[in-house]
Assembly symmetry: C2
Homo-oligomer: 272 residues x 2
C-alpha cells in the first residue's frame, strides 16, 4: 500500500486506530472453541465488528506461532480475509524480526510477498544490513523498534550512546539507510513526552504507538506531541478492544470500544 492511501483512509474514517489481533485461546469466548478454526473465527468476528473504525490491523506473530501449524494457518487466513475484503486497510505483521542480510531477505519475502502484509516490525540491534533487505520492497513499510512501551526500554534504549539516547541514535542512523523513506517507527505511548524530541529527528514519519489503554498511555498526550499534518500516527489497541468481553457479546463490546476510540480521534482530527 502507498502511504498516500493510508493517509486518505485516515482522513476518510477520521480514525488512526490500529487493532492488535493478539489471540490467546484462553481469553476468547468459550463458544468459539467449538469452531474448526477458533483463532480465525475470533479474528473474523473482531474485524467485522471494528473495520468501520480502524485503519490498520496488527496480528502479533508470537500468538500464532504459539499454536504451531494451526496458528500459522489462522494467520494466513486472517491476512487473506483482510486483503480480500478490506484492501483499503493497512496490515502490520508484528514480528520484530531482524537478522543478517540474506536471512532478513527471507523474512521480508515471507511477510511481504507470501503472506501479503503491507508492513512488518523489525528490531534495530543488528544494524543497516539487517534492515535494508526489508526496505527494498516498494510500497511495503518497515516499522523499526525505536522506543518500546515496556519497562525494559530503560535497560538500553534510553541509555546514552555517543552522547545521544540510543533510541534517538536508532532514528538518526536509520535515516541514512537506502530506501529509508519506507521506514516507520514503534514509539510507546507510555513515554509520550519523548515524542517532542522524536519529532525533531523524524518530523513526518509514521509512528506505530502501542501502550495506549492496557499499558497506561494517554491518547491526548501522544497526539499533543506526535501528530503531524498527515496525522502520522497509528495508535494500537489490542486487549482493550478484542477482550472487552469474553462472553457472547464480545463482538458488540469490541465495536463499542473501537467506536469510542474513533470518536476521540475524530475530535482530535477536527481540532487540528
Amino acid at each position: 500500500m502507498e502511504i498516500t492511501q493510508l493517509i486518505s483512509e485516515i482522513k476518510r474514517k477520521k480514525s488512526f486506530l490500529c487493532v492488535g489481533l493478539d489471540v490467546d485461546m484462553e481469553k476468547i469466548p468459550a463458544h468459539l472453541l467449538e469452531e474448526e478454526d477458533p483463532i480465525f473465527a475470533f479474528n473474523k468476528a473482531i474485524i467485522d465488528a471494528t473495520h468501520r473504525f480502524a485503519v490498520a490491523y496488527k496480528p502479533n506473530t508470537a500468538f500464532y506461532e504459539a499454536y504451531g501449524l494451526k496458528g500459522w494457518e489462522a494467520l494466513q487466513k486472517t491476512i487473506d480475509y483482510l486483503n480480500t475484503n478490506f484492501p483499503e486497510i493497512f496490515t502490520i505483521a508484528d514480528a520484530k524480526r531482524g537478522d543478517i542480510g540474506n536471512t532478513s531477505s527471507m523474512y521480508a519475502k515471507a511477510f511481504f510477498e507470501d503472506l501479503g502484509f503491507d508492513s512488518v516490525t523489525v528490531a534495530p540491534y543488528m544494524g543497516k544490513d539487517s534492515v535494508e533487505p526489508f526496505l527494498k520492497f516498494e510500497n511495503k513499510h518497515t516499522i523499526l523498534l525505536a522506543l518500546t512501551s515496556n519497562e525494559g526500554a530503560f535497560d538500553f534504549q534510553t541509555k546514552k550512546m555517543d552522547g545521544l539516547e540510543t533510541y534517538k541514535n536508532v532514528l538518526q542512523v536509520s535515516k541514512t539507510w537506502v530506501n529509508s523513506r519506507n521506514l516507520m517507527y514503534v514509539v510507546g505511548a507510555t513515554k509520550a513526552e519523548y515524542l517532542r524530541d522524536i519529532r525533531d529527528i523524524i518530523p513526518e514519519s509514521f509512528l506505530l504507538v502501542p501502550g495506549v489503554g492496557a499499558q497506561g498511555g494517554s491518547l491526548a498526550d501522544v497526539c499533543k506531541y506526535g501528530i503531524t499534518a498527515d496525522i502520522g500516527l497509528l495508535i494500537n489497541s489490542s486487549r482493550g478492544i478484542i477482550y472487552a468481553s469474553n462472553k457472547d457479546d464480545f463482538a458488540e463490546k469490541a465495536t463499542q470500544e473501537a467506536s469510542s476510540m474513533q470518536m476521540q480521534m475524530e475530535e482530535i482530527i477536527n481540532g487540528l
Copy 2:
C-alpha cells in the same frame, strides 16, 4: 538439556561444531525437489551425514517461515527427528525473537515446549522483561545477541553506551536478570579479538559463534581468545557444510566438511 550434558557430549565427540540448517530450495540438489517434503528430506540427509561430528544443530527460522505452512511443518519434522534419534544433541532455534513480557512468554512456549528446542536466540533491544520470560524455563537456554557477525554490528553494537560498548553493556546488564544462569550469547567470529574483553565480563558462559567460514572468521583466533576449561564455545557453520555440494554427493561432501572441522577442533581440545 542440562549444560553438563552438552559439555560431556563436546568432550566425548571432541567437537564443538554446530551445523546451521538454513535450507534454501534454490540451493539444494535438484533431485530432492521431487520428494514430498524436500526441506525435511535435505535436513534428514544432512543430519545423518554429520551427526557424528556435530554437537548442535541450528535451524534459522527465517528459512522455514519463507515457505509458509510447509516450512513450519518441515521445521517441526526436523526438530522431532533430532529429538527422537539424537536426544544427546543440543538444538537451537535461531529465531532472534524478543517482545514485551506476555508476548515473549508466547514465543518461549512455542520454541521450548511446543517445538521442543533446547535453546532459542533472542534480541536484547527491549531489555529485561523481554528476555526473562525465556529464562524461566529450566534446562532451556536463551542465547542473547551480543556482537553479531555482520557489518551492521558497527551501527549500534560497538558504539559506546554510558562509556562502555553497547554489546558489553548488554553482557553486563543481562547478568543481573533473574535466572541469568540460563543465558548464552551470540558473538560473531569475524571479531575474534573482541573475545578477550568479552571473557572478562562472562568468563564461563557458552558462546554461539557464527561467521567462521563463509563470513571469513578464523577458528584458531576464536579459540585463542574464547575457549574455556569446559570449551564454552559452539562454532556454527551453515553454508560451508550444507552446501558443500549441490549435486548427488551433497551428503558425502557435508560429511567431509563436518569431519574436517571436527578434526581441527579435536586438535585444539587436545592442545588445551
